[in-house]
């Protein structure tokens, strides 16, 4: 299935000059959504994945479906104040300001094999912060998976040393 044809290109969102790749047109197509999750899952067939870690909130979309398909647990990484029990946090720089992410301290057991999932690889800051959280808890990042990769933003540079996979790549 041509998954790229299901993505809607929205110019000037969220700000003027940015071309936004909108996955909602793919998600609402049951066959396309299933094929997308299966394509992610196929990449990890035969590998041990104990946990899928997904970042609020679009990372929950592919992350939970993928966890279900792989038979893995799902761990949410959330914005500050959303997780009810004890957390650790990581902050990273954005173009303007900083962003902070949290994970429950008991979310991962030492040595568990973790797949980090988000919908989009842009500059890589979110994914790198998430990998840091996983490793601080003793988890092993098996791979970092994205549905869409914006290759022109060179997010992989932030993720050197990690196995990185993306289903769709855009070079502009």
């Amino acid at each position: 299935m041509d998954l790229a044809s299901k993505i809607r290109n929205v110019p000037d969102f969220p700000v003027k000059g940015i071309l936004f790749y909108d996955i909602t047109t793919l998600l609402k197509d049951g066959e396309a959504f299933k094929a997308s999750v299966d394509q992610l899952a196929e990449r990890y067939a035969g590998q041990q994945i104990d946990l899928v870690v997904g970042v609020e909130s679009r990372g929950f979309i592919f992350g939970t479906a993928l966890a279900y398909k792989l038979g893995a647990g799902f761990v949410p990484v959330r914005k500050p104040g959303k997780l009810p029990a004890e957390t650790i946090s990581e902050s990273y720089e954005l173009e303007y300001g900083t962003n902070t992410l949290e994970i429950h301290t008991d979310a991962i057991q030492k040595g568990q094999k973790v797949l980090v999932v988000d919908d989009l690889l842009a500059t890589g800051g979110t994914a790198k912060a998430t990998c840091n959280l996983v490793e601080r808890l003793g988890g092993e990042v098996v791979s970092v998976a994205f549905f869409i990769e914006l290759t022109f933003l060179h997010g992989r540079d932030q993720l050197q040393g990690y196995d990185v996979f993306s289903v769709l790549k855009y070079d502009k």
Copy 2:
């Protein structure tokens, strides 16, 4: 599987006097998460479900896994300003202030059978607003499904006329 035993009770979250039912301890257990999604899916076996609509952001967790399992499309309902294309919105009252939800106007075709999913049924405001959005686009709400229902908040009163299903019920 005793799914209730996988839920963590967190007192005084998000504010003093509230007992919070934390699903993250269930989600991180791959078998428990799978059993939870399967239990939701089983309820709808043999029924036509074209789309699962899930509310940002915890509604994405069970919503997308369930859409995957049912072979349905997934439609996110989001906070204002997050969806990139044309939207309609619904506002509803909270204890303090109001909340607004948006859906893409092209998310649902007239006559499509829709399952609305959220993790928690509390007072029912979010679910009711979501049903309104679905119906304004011409969708038919087949059922409204929750993982947890706080029966003492009487959220079903807001959802009269709808089929409502929840996996776990708490009466305090």
